[in-house]
Every structure is written in structure tokens, then in C-alpha cells.
Amino acid sequence: MSNAAPSPKLPISLAANPQLSSWVRFAGDGEVTVSPGKVEIGQGIVTALAQIAADELDVDLSRVRMVRASTAASPNEGATSGSLSIQQSGRALRQACAEIRHIFLAAASDRLGVEAGALEVKDGTISGPGNVSTSYWELADEVSLDRNATLAGAPKAANRRTLAGQSVPRLDIPDKVFARRRFIHDLVLPGLLHGRVLRPEIAGAQLATLADASARVAPGLVAIARDGNFVGVVSETENGADAAIHALRKGATWSSSATLPDENDLAAFLKSQPVESTVIDARQSAQSGAIVRTIQRQYSRPYVAHASIAPSCAIAQWDGDRLRVWTHSQGVYLLRADLALVLKLPTANITVEHVEGAGCYGHNAADDVALDAVLLAKAAGGRPVRVQWSRADEMTHAPFGAAMAIEIEADLDGAGEIVDWRHAIWSNGHTARPGRATQPALLAATEIAPAFPRMISTNPPPASGGGGDRNSVPPYDIPAWTITSHRLLTMPIRTSALRTLGAQGNVFAIECFLDEIAAERGEDPVAFRLRHLRDERAKDVIRAAARRADWKPTHKDGIGHGIGYARYKNTGAYCAVVAEIEGADDIRVRRLTIAVDVGEAINPDGVVNQVEGGAIQATSWVLKERVRFDRTGITSNGWTGYPILRFNEVPQVDVDVVQRADIEPVGAGEAAHGPVTAAIANAVFDCLGVRVRNLPITRESLIAAMETS
């Protein structure tokens, strides 16, 4: 073993895209162009990255122009997902900018005849003793950034940062408030045509017959395109496209032999399917205490829809064998790879560029609609075609977050302490994102002829945070455990990444089970958790949330309090939540008191915004959300069938950010979902004395839980 310190490494995104000019350029007019590979999905990442760049370069934030990701020029940073954007893009940009500053200081030193150490940078102007000065822009012609990062130049110490750590207002919000065209839905291109796709209302359907006579006379019709089971229309107007697709729907008959599971017994379905089983983690105890009894509980969560407020939208344009695509995909390079597979076209012929959409919360139909637009644009004579899905298609054909059944068994000793712990998960895989396999993941690829097979969802490896198993390894000091993940090899209902992947289900199960064990022992659930944790950052967020919520408030009839804790992926943000609920026939969440530690919070208000949003979305999942289906198809095809939390139902959310400027930052967007879910369920028990182990917690599931308890 060598005693040498490990050599510092380039941040992962910078190692993958080392050329400095791919990240940052100085434009002649006093601008800094920053080009990250991550995209804005409403999480404020563009602002946080601008803060980091401006801080390291010592330029005013107003000089920074953020470029949207495009396969034509941007660094390839994979998908904007998994709360990794600050971690990956932020660290890469910080290091790249530190090196660029260092390079320019050396160039300025040569030009000014002043040692680099005596120079300072203020808003891009580099000056030194004797009133000599130059600037990034003056030097830009002689300093090439077409060179690879070498780790020369260290980022500033935390206490020297002036922008990172500040709640800078988001750069995109003024456009959105003043209705400037920023969303892909609002993008207007010369000669733009409108497309719609006909999708069946039953699962696994084959198009049997198609009478298109009345669609052919729809106003403005340009083309009806059919390829196998894929059928769409192109029209001069959006209204015309709607009319044509409406007529086609009446003229189409579909057949299917597919059968969906029983929506009222998902756990039984999940546990009856062929699976691939993986032991995620196992630890043995040195001394085996005497097992006095074993308790076992089963938890489940239903399929959950992304349910973006905006139906997915894309624009595509063919120029000979070259293709240009505008998309709100989370990964422009990944989408391009899948398009190349479907079209059998070299990736060099395809340019995919990002334009903002509404929040997606994971892998929704953003990529699917891009292929729809590409296929319809083939019939558009070189004009761009904009395709927008219907609300019903968005709610029924986009991938869902996977349903989960989770069984936990604990062996207890005579004192009621946990001796051994077994956690098993049955679930479809939690990701089938495009661009990562030898077959495409896009919906229309399974509809055209010859059709590609539907990709069965898989799980990212545990080292990347896992999928169905995410957060299944308890953060607590338990002497022995075995964690097993059973991934379904069948997929009657299409699943892919939904915010937190399996973490929401696993944290719900672990935290509720612990709560039950603590309650049986007569031990306070906060004290019980603190006693089983070694990580001081974990204890700090639990203590902070408990303190802010005055844990534990005196019991009042009809009110309950519960706690939930997790560190997202066991490597990311720490989050503890105290829920206060009001319960009788229906549960109302009154307040969520949250403490979160993301390391260095680049934009503290941005972190609060993300955590508040995650907490409210999780409350919606817990109290309301469940994809509905019968044996032939998905039936929750709109907001009536798939209700989400409304303004009158939203809890107060109080977020305390534990700022740790010296610790590498991690993302905040998925930190709260698991802990909020568990805290609400535990508060329901505190209030009503009943454990609801099957989500969502509705009047029906409360009654069912009361009957079985």
C-alpha cells in the first residue's frame, strides 16, 4: 500500500467532457457564455450553475448567458435526473471555471508584466499594482480554451465565495411571469405544422381497421401517416389536427388480448410474477442475541403518474436525411441515441436541442412525443411539425412510477431490540430511459412495423443509487440484515423513472416499521431513531426538525404527529420531517416541518423551493394518487380520474436548511418524498391508532386498515 494521498480527480462530468471551451466562452461584448449539459426542468438549475460560474470567474451574474443543451455543442452530461445536477454539472463547472480563471491570470501576468499572484479579478477586469489592467474579453483572442482541463487552478475556498450560497432570484422566472415564449409549447417556427397521434384506449392493442374518409376532409389536413400500429395526422392548424384525429378515432377499431393485473390486489400480482432476484446488501452480527419473536409487515404503493400539467410536446424537422428535434427531454444525447436506433440513421445526422417544458418529475412522455414528431415530420415535406399529446394520452400512455410490494421482517430480542432485519421488494424496474440500451425505449418504436419489443424496465446498480432498492438499506445501526430486490420480468403496465424511484416506497416501509417497533417498546420515535444512528448529520436534521415542531406536542383529539427520516440514496441529502395531521374520515395534512442538509446550498431559497415542492407533491401521492385501471386498460385518463392535491388541501411547509458551506453540494429535489410519506403515515397512527400500510391513505384504505387490525 502506498502512503501517497490519492491524486485529485476531475469531477465526473468534466472528465467526460474535458474541453474547457465546451463549458465556457467569452463573447466579445463582455458576456460569458456558459453551456452546461443539464437542463432546466423547473428546479432552478440554470440559475444555480450561473451562480457557480460567476463566482469562480469573478464576473457579475448579469454577464452570464446560459445556453440550452444541444447535441450540436453542449457537453454530454447524460440525463438531468436523480438530484445529480448540482453534484455533476455544478462541480464540473466550478472546476472548469477555476482553471479558466487560472489560465487567464497567467496570460494577464504575461501581458501586464505583473506576477499572477498580485493580480485580482473584479467583474471580469484583471488588474494589478500600478494601475495596470486587462480583462477576460481583451485576452480572449489570445487565450484558447480549446484545451482539456488539467486540474490547474483550485476553486475558491467556501468563505471567499460571494454568489454561491446566496438566494439569487431565478433567471427564468421573469420570462414566465411576463409570458415570454420560453416553453416548447409556445415556440413558433416558420412554416410550423401541427401533428397528433392516435393512441388506443386499451392496453397492448393492434390496429384492426382504420376508416379515414372523414379525417381526409378535415380542414387544413396535410397528411395522414400510418406505419404499423402508429397512426398520426399532420395539419396546417392545431384545430385541424384535433379534428382529423377525432375523425380517425371514430374510424379505428382495435383488438387486444392483453390483460392487466387486479388493481385492488397489486401486492399479490407483484409477488406472483417471474422475477430476477438480487441480494442488495447483507450483514451478519458477531454476537447473535436470542430471538424472542419475529414480526412481519407488508407495505405497498400503487402505480403513480408523473402527471405533468403540460401534455408532452416536441417539434421535428427533416432536411433530406438530416433531422432536427426540439424537445423537453431530460437528456438530449440519450434521446438522440434512441432516435438513431429507430431511424437507423447515424447520430451525426441528428441534432437534438432542449427547450423548456413543464415539470416532468422523472421519465414521462417527453421522449416519446419527440419520436412521434419525427415520424410525422417525414410526411411534412421538410416543414417543422409540432406534436402535442392529449391529456388522456399523457395520463395513460406515458410510463408510470412502478408499483411496489415491500415485506419487512424483524427479529426482536427479549428487550424488544432489533437483532436481525429482512427487507424484500417486489417491483417492476424503475427505469426504462432512452439511450442506454441496444433497443429503443420510445413508445412509437413499439408501434411501427417492424415493431421493436417493449423495453422491460431495469434498475440502476446500487452504486448509482439503485432503483426499486433505492434507500432499502436502513440508515440505522441494526446488527444484521438482508436486503433483497425482486425485479419483475413481465411488465403489463409500462413503468420508468418517477422522482425518487423506489426510495419513496422503501423509506415509507422502513420508517413506519421502525415507528411500530418503537411504539411497542413505549419509546419515543425520535429518541429511538437517534439511538440507532451514528451519523451526526443525520441526527442533526432529526433534532432540528423535532425542535422546530416542538416535538412532541401534547396530544389533542383529532390531531396526530409523526416523524420520518432518510438520507436520499443513502449518499445524498439528509432530510427529516415532522408531519401534523388532522384525521377523522379523511386525512388532512396541516403542517410539515422539515430539516434538510444538502451540504453547501448554492441557492438556499432554491433548496427550500425544491424541498417544499417535493413535500407537497409527496403529500399528494400519499393522500390521493393511484393510477386506476381495469383488466383492459388504464382508466384514470384525466384530472377527475387522477386527482392531485389542490390549493385548499395543501399543508403549511416549514423548511430549515442546515447550511454546510464546506461540504460538497448535493441535490434537493427528491430528499423529502420518502420522509414526508412516512411522517404522514406515522401521524395517522398517532391520531387514529391505525397503521395504513397500503398507499394511498384514503378513506377506503383507512377503513380497510381498521378492519384488518
Binding site: 411571469v177 411576463f178 415564449r181 416553453f183 403540460a310 415539470g359 418529475y361 407533491q617 385548499n648 395543501v650
Partner: protein, 156 residues
């Protein structure tokens, strides 16, 4: 087909279109106003809200004919960067969104509320915005923004 006339954001406007078409389609299409957004097409989410007179309506299921001779206000008509509406200032001040797709419709619901009730309570704002959906979970910030705008309007 005779033209349908209305005042759109204060400007006399005539549009020659099928009177049964959804108002949203005509606003976003012929009239080029992309502030009101399509969300569901069934009047269930509020992303397409516009003011018809003093009322917030879902323009996705409001037929064009019903707007005849009325005042229509879209988010573009509330204000602009040079002359922002207090609601627009307040939504920026409170950073009251994540993705922002629902925001035009929500600001229109809020504008309708403030015309009827210049001093709303928290509960009044929640009730007024209850027809609007937000999926990102920015509700509490939006409520604060509406209360802030009301305070600002009352003070001026």
C-alpha cells in the same frame, strides 16, 4: 361566417373563425397569445384561464362565440416587464413557481379575486385558486405572492 368582435387586452379585436372553436385555440392560434396554456382541454386544470369580463374562465372549453362583445384579459394584458402588474412583481419577489407552466392561469385567477376582493385572507386566496392545479408544489409561495400583491395594491 361573420367576424366575432371583442376587446382583447384593451384592444378592439375581430376574428373570423368558427364560433364553436375553443377560445384558447383562437387566442394561441390566430391571435398569437401563448400566455394562456393548454393543460387538459376539459376545464379541469386552469392553465388556460383568461378573464372574461371580471371572471376567470377556462378558455380551453369556452367557445369563441361566448366571448363576443366582452373584455378578454390574458396574462399578457396584466402587464409587462416595463409596467408589471403587482401580481407579476409579487410572483417574482416570492419566487413563486418551479416550472411555471401553470402560472399564467394562476395569476389570472388571482387577478379575478383581487378585482372582487382587494383584501383577501389566506383562505380566500386558497379558495380562489382551488380550480387551478400546480404539480410542482409551489402553492404556498403563490398564496404568499397573491397576498403580497394585494397588500401592495392596497397601499398604493
Amino acid at each position: 361566417m361573420s367576424a366575432i368582435r371583442f376587446r382583447l387586452n384593451g384592444v378592439e379585436t375581430a376574428v373570423d373563425a368558427d364560433p364553436d372553436r375553443p377560445l384558447l385555440d383562437v387566442l394561441r392560434g390566430e391571435l398569437g397569445l401563448t400566455g394562456p396554456h393548454f393543460g387538459c382541454g376539459a376545464g379541469e386544470c386552469g392553465a388556460c384561464h383568461v378573464l372574461l369580463g371580471d371572471r376567470a374562465v377556462t378558455s380551453c372549453d369556452t367557445p369563441l362565440w361566448s366571448a363576443a362583445d366582452q373584455d378578454i384579459t390574458t396574462v399578457e394584458g396584466l402587464g409587462n416587464a416595463e409596467r408589471p402588474h403587482p401580481l407579476q412583481r409579487a410572483f417574482i419577489a416570492e419566487q413563486a413557481m418551479q416550472c411555471g407552466y401553470c402560472v399564467p392561469g394562476i395569476m389570472i385567477s388571482a387577478a379575478a379575486l383581487l378585482r372582487q376582493n382587494p383584501t383577501p385572507t389566506d383562505a380566500d386566496v386558497r379558495a380562489a385558486l382551488d380550480r387551478n392545479l400546480c404539480r410542482c408544489g409551489s402553492h404556498n409561495r403563490m398564496i404568499r405572492a397573491v397576498l403580497r400583491a394585494a397588500g401592495e395594491m392596497a397601499a398604493s
